[in-house]
């Protein structure tokens, strides 16, 4: 009995940490830009499939997405050439250089047959900028839209990215190598090394975000844009840049989560949506604004998922999403108390 409980606990913790990176992304994006990003899970899929391609020696399709996105960015900026050709040429030049660097990096990595961790870094560099690009295409043009408009847009983004994923990778699942194969017996439970990797990476990501936002001026500017957009503008903080930065960091966290998760479940084009929604259930616990409470939320989600998979595996997802009802009721009573 204790063996089972311990096993479920470890499994739940591992799941929880994967969702924690998602919840972290969702809270970061929501606080800075007021976007409830349903599409956040798609970066999980992009991260996992990019890593799968790199590990199996193929040119990852993400590279084409990235280059296409950069090109579209340059086209959208075309109006600036007339007003200020210097700035515009610098900007377009920067986009071209970024595309070339991405191409060179990918080719180099494939030629060198980097180990899994190296490939993860390359995949991260390819996926994270997509977050900033999607911000540029969807949020940047309409900064004052209502939350509901952004929700609908993000559903659209989610569907489009999933469609592109299907187009590029097809419907087949791809196996992904773990950072380290095998595991270790700790007492009665067998723990995979990948679980340790997930733990370490999640802690590093959270710690990194904390240090960045508390100890650097740019991090403070990110917080400032989250707390008061107008006030941030009056300080001369470019709020579109902080929004893009939030999207980029969130995409990076989610992509990492996908790369860590993929070896446990194999990667496919529709894996992201589910993971994203589960991160969302956890994030809802903190109202998408509270990091610590969101962490509690994702741990509950992870725990419930592994227990229900054991007790009634067919109802696993049903049970996890049902959790949203008590969470929303609880938040509702809490906000009423605060309003009083």
């Amino acid at each position: 009995m204790t063996d089972t409980v311990l096993f479920l606990l470890v499994d739940g913790l591992t799941n929880g940490l994967v969702y924690a990176l998602l919840a972290l992304s969702l809270v970061l994006v929501f606080t800075v830009t007021r976007v409830v990003n349903i599409a956040q899970g798609e970066y999980v899929m992009l991260g996992a499939l990019t890593l799968a391609d790199l590990l199996q020696g193929r040119m990852p399709g993400t590279l084409y997405l990235l280059i296409g996105g950069l090109a579209l960015c340059a086209i959208l900026d075309v109006g600036r050439w007339r007003r200020d050709w210097r700035q515009a040429s610098l900007y377009t030049g920067g986009l071209i250089v970024a595309g070339i660097i991405a191409l060179a990096l990918t080719r180099g990595a494939l030629a060198l047959h980097l180990p899994v961790i190296g490939m993860m870094v390359v995949a991260l560099i390819l996926v994270a900028p997509l977050g900033a690009l999607i911000y540029r295409f969807t949020v940047h043009p309409i900064p004052n839209a209502t939350t509901i408009v952004f929700v609908i847009i993000s559903v659209g983004v989610s569907m489009s990215v999933q469609g592109l994923g299907l187009l590029i990778w097809g419907a087949n699942p791809y196996p992904v190598d773990p950072i380290a194969a095998g595991g270790v017996m700790m007492g009665p439970v067998f723990i995979r090394y990948q679980s340790f990797a997930i733990l370490v990476t999640a802690l590093l990501a959270m710690g990194g975000l904390y240090v960045f936002s508390e100890f650097t001026l740019v991090g403070k500017a990110l917080q400032a844009s989250a707390m008061n957009r107008l006030g941030a503008q009056f300080c001369g903080i470019p709020v579109n840049a902080t929004g893009a930065l939030a999207f980029l960091l969130a995409a990076a966290f989610s992509a990492v989560s996908g790369m860590l998760l993929a070896p446990l479940i194999t990667a496919n084009y529709e894996m992201g949506f589910m993971v994203g929604l589960k991160g969302f259930v956890g994030g809802a616990m903190g109202g998408l604004i509270d990091y610590p409470l969101s962490l509690v939320g994702v741990m509950i989600v992870g725990g419930l998922e592994s227990t229900s998979a054991y007790v009634a595996s067919a109802y696993r997802d049903v049970l996890v999403f049902s959790l949203l009802i008590p969470i929303l009721l609880w938040r509702n009573t809490r906000s009423r108390v605060e309003a009083r």
């Binding site: 007003r83 001026l217 403070k220 500017a221 917080q223 400032a224 707390m227 008061n228 107008l230 006030g231 941030a232 503008q233 009056f234 300080c235 001369g236 903080i237 470019p238 709020v239």
Partner: protein
């Protein structure tokens, strides 16, 4: 004197409604002007438009020879146009020193020594901020929050400082403290636009004043002259003010 800011036939509206109707004025370097007028006259709208938060419907705004029309707020801050907003627009979860550092966000590459020197200058001007350095802005009193807003704006090293109702909601003693700081800035050569409901206070600081009513300038002139203007006396310096004070006291 060279003109720092020139506003010609500026019109600003919210959709169909016109809030600022064809206003022209200019500010010379080293000069402080004021806009006085009742609530809803368009004073805040005027400053928000100069800041680039609101689009101008027509007219031109020229700052140091450059047309500002297409510039976003952050670009205007970079050129030295800085506002102390009416609602202060602070960051409740950040402390006082963070606010001041963020005020100098665009000058962050100038190095640690310059940042420290700038912080010291603010702390000398507004000593209360030094005591409260590590306190979160959300927990400060109204007066202290106003000082943070002023300090944050000054950290940007403004060419043109715009103050939107700095006395709103503050006790007289605190208001005095804030205006003493403004006086000292003026003495040091700061150019500014002050928007106030308290006409007496405003005309004691500024050299020239404009009376704004429903989006139009209805009177303007030297501060001394305006104080003698019978219309201004009746509406803003006389019985009206006392009436308003009586209302707010209860």
């Amino acid at each position: 004197m060279t003109k720092l800011l020139e506003v010609a036939n500026l019109t600003v509206g919210y959709g169909e409604a016109i809030a600022i109707d064809d206003i022209s004025f200019s500010v010379a370097r080293g000069e402080f002007i004021t806009f006085i007028g009742p609530n809803g006259a368009g004073k805040t709208t005027l400053l928000n438009s100069l800041m680039g938060v609101l689009q101008q419907a027509s007219g031109t705004v020229t700052f140091a020879g450059e047309d500002l029309k297409t510039l976003k707020p952050e670009a205007r801050v970079a050129r030295g146009i800085v506002i102390v907003p009416e609602r202060r627009e602070l960051f409740p979860g950040l402390n006082v020193e963070d606010h001041l550092r963020l005020g100098a966000f665009l000058r962050r590459h100038e190095g640690r020594a310059k940042m420290t020197a700038a912080l010291d200058r603010i702390y000398t001007l507004l000593p209360k901020l030094k005591e409260r350095r590590k306190q979160l802005a959300g927990t400060l009193s109204g007066g202290e929050q106003q000082m943070v807003a002023v300090g944050r704006a000054l950290m940007a090293e403004p060419q043109l400082l715009m103050l939107d109702e700095p006395s709103t909601g503050l006790a007289p003693r605190i208001t005095e403290e804030i205006f003493e700081a403004i006086d000292r800035l003026k003495a040091a050569g700061m150019t500014g636009i002050l928007v106030e409901q308290n006409a007496n206070l405003a005309l004691s600081v500024a050299e020239r004043g404009f009376v704004l009513e429903v989006g139009n300038v209805v009177a303007f002139g030297e501060a001394g002259q305006l104080r003698q203007d019978p219309r201004v006396l009746a509406a803003y310096l006389g019985a009206g003010d006392r009436y308003r004070e009586a209302m707010t006291d209860t």
